[in-house]
């Protein structure tokens, strides 16, 4: 097990450097001179420009700039946004909001997705199963921003049950509607995954044994079928994390949720290249870390999986 963890971490190292190098290279290739842009309409003072260039290490070759940037990340310095605010500070303000939003989304995904998937799987081929499959297909086909606008229009603007835009401190109850929107894509996949897994588990011998030793249907479903069907669903949550990151950008943009996603969204709208890149880099790093963690968690969850050599 410890050998597996070590190997998995070793494998993550080239991916980490490759990913950051790739993103950093794209910024490097970005047209326009950021220092000249800082002067705005005024003429460029060569002496000040030179000092600034030196201060931001822009007089160094590409690979040195990259190494300085990576060194900064290891010291907790994620770069500076266009307005001069450290990206680390912005993250500290916005991250709790996005985590709250994601928690609501994941909770909705789990409850609705697993619930519907379980019932559909147990009643394979009946009308509930057919309906849930059709609805999940439609959910997959409708882009998240369309779902966001439609739900915003119906529940916030027409019915007035929720707020169309979230207020500054993003209280829990105002995040419910954005959370449902964020959950909507993954719900479809979780329903299908749970359904397939339940159908598969229900045909196993141990389920027949459980029934034949006289256990109630309720207990067989709860203890024997559901528990054994959940392993692939748990793994899916790690893939889901990437979907959540992209989804949060769109959802927070629509509902004006003051989280990481909206900050990224606004930076994109305003064309603040460097901020966009530092945010995407941080998101990708978190994504990598979460993937590594889920892989390790997966090994701990399922005793049948032994990562030997």
């Amino acid at each position: 097990m410890s050998g597996y963890i070590l190997r998995r971490i070793l494998q993550a190292i080239p991916v980490f450097f490759g990913t950051t190098l790739l993103i950093y290279f794209m910024v490097f290739a970005m047209p326009g001179d950021p220092i000249v842009a800082l002067f705005g309409d005024k003429g460029v003072n060569p002496a000040t420009a030179a000092i600034l260039r030196h201060q931001y290490h822009l007089d160094q070759p590409f690979i040195m700039q990259y190494l300085i940037y990576i060194g900064g990340i290891f010291h907790g310095d994620f770069g500076t946004s266009f307005s001069g605010q450290p990206v680390g500070n912005i993250l500290a303000q916005t991250f709790p909001v996005t985590i709250r939003l994601s928690m609501i989304a994941v909770a909705v995904e789990m409850v609705v997705g697993i619930g519907v998937g379980l019932v559909a799987g147990l009643r394979k081929g009946k009308w509930f199963d057919a309906t849930s499959l059709a609805v999940s297909l439609i959910l997959i086909s409708v882009p998240i921003f369309v779902i966001g606008f439609v739900l915003q229009y119906i529940f916030a603007i027409k019915l007035g049950w929720a707020k169309a835009t979230v207020s500054g401190d993003a209280p829990f109850n105002e995040l419910i509607l954005p959370g449902i929107v964020l959950a909507s894509i993954s719900i479809a996949y979780i329903v299908r995954l749970t359904r397939a897994s339940v159908i598969d588990t229900a045909s196993q011998d141990f389920v027949r044994t459980a029934y034949s030793k006289g256990l109630s249907r309720n207990r067989v479903v709860r203890v024997h079928i559901l528990r054994n069907s959940l392993i692939p669903v748990v793994t899916y949550l790690s893939i889901d994390f990437g979907v959540l990151l992209v989804g949060a950008t769109v959802t927070e943009g629509i509902f004006n949720v003051p989280g990481v996603g909206r900050t990224l969204y606004q930076a994109i709208i305003r064309g603040e290249g460097p901020t966009v890149v530092s945010f995407v880099t941080v998101m990708v790093l978190i994504y990598l870390a979460v993937n590594l963690l889920t892989d390790l968690l997966y090994a701990a969850l399922d005793p049948r999986i032994r990562y030997g050599k």
């Binding site: 970005m30 439609v150 603007i157 990437g242 709208i269 290249g273 990708v284 993937n291």
Partner: protein, 312 residues
């Protein structure tokens, strides 16, 4: 005594032998033929097939479906107006005909989908086939490179690329931005399949009679591993169309002068409170197209998977 040495001989019937009925005229069993026969039994195949053909026709010959030019007759007097004779879906904020814009925007969305799919298929098949077939260090290197691209959610990557190329936004650039980070999933699927096929007896037989490695890959291994790639292709086409719309929504998509469903949806969000239908119609066109490709992907996947076929 003599009896014991005698062999037992069953009664022999002089009548002709009857085996299980085999119809000689049946075509030999073949994955692609079976899949085709299976797909034709499903209504979903026809629904999605008709939709895909229709969308393709609209993209190729928009003039056949509307005689209103999309941008010529925009009159601000019609701004956000409801349906009128000859303008079935009403008008946008700029007073342009919504139906006509949807019809003329089809080719943009479909082009992005096709270019991305061709691109990811070429890159993914090359990387996956070489990694899977040649193995060893080639595999290790290609797989790690794939991991790097795979570890960045491709819409986020496209956001960065589109920010970098903000001066050069067109259908080709946006397709490249999406496709450049979307190929590893194709490569992974093909690699896994090739690892499975590579150890088949017929591959060993070809090696034994001295067929070259490259010929084995092209003639025997690749054709037998390509089924899952086809499934992924259909689904990635749908995903690329959604990705283009999402990027346009975020404001890093195609320039607003290019007609695309994503741009129309993005521009309609301002009027959501007063004229929600402006947003609904292009969204509907987008969703129906995506649904058609996803349904086709499901049909193809089920048809190509003998296990799913028998359990249905």
């Amino acid at each position: 005594m003599a009896n014991r040495n005698e062999h037992f001989v069953a009664d022999f019937s002089e009548d002709s032998v009857v085996v299980d009925a085999v119809r000689i005229d049946d075509r030999p069993s073949n994955l692609w033929y079976d899949a085709w026969r299976d797909a034709r039994k499903r209504p979903m195949f026809y629904i999605s097939g008709v939709l895909i053909v229709l969308v393709a026709l609209v993209a190729l010959f928009p003039g056949l479906f509307t005689n209103v030019a999309p941008n010529d007759n925009c009159q601000l007097a019609n701004s956000s107006g409801g349906p009128m004779l000859g303008h079935p879906l009403g008008f946008t904020r700029q007073g342009c005909d919504i139906y006509s814009r949807i019809i003329y925007g089809t080719s943009t969305s479909l082009s992005v989908g096709l270019i991305v799919t061709v691109m990811t298929t070429i890159m993914g098949v090359l990387a996956g086939a070489i990694a899977g077939f040649y193995g060893k260090w080639v595999d290790a290197v290609l797989s790690r490179i794939g991991d790097i691209f795979f570890s960045i959610p491709y819409i986020l990557a496209a956001v960065v690329i589109m920010s970098v190329f903000s001066q050069y936004r067109n259908v080709w650039v946006i397709s490249a931005a999406i496709g450049f980070f979307a190929w590893p999933s194709t490569a992974r699927v093909l690699r896994a399949e090739i690892l499975r096929v590579k150890n088949s007896d017929f591959v060993m037989a070809s090696t034994a009679i001295g067929v070259s490695r490259f010929t084995i890959l092209m003639r025997h291994v690749l054709p037998n591993s390509v089924a899952p790639v086809i499934v992924i292709t259909t689904i990635s086409l749908a995903a690329a169309i959604v990705a283009e719309a999402t990027l346009s929504f975020l404001g890093v998509g195609l320039p607003s002068t290019t007609m695309s469903w994503g741009n129309d949806i993005s521009q309609a969000q301002v009027d959501l409170r007063t004229a929600p239908m402006i947003l609904v119609w292009p969204s509907l066109a987008l969703s129906i197209t995506v649904l058609a490709f996803i349904m086709m992907g499901e049909v193809v996947r089920d048809a190509l998977d003998p296990k799913a076929r028998s359990s249905r």
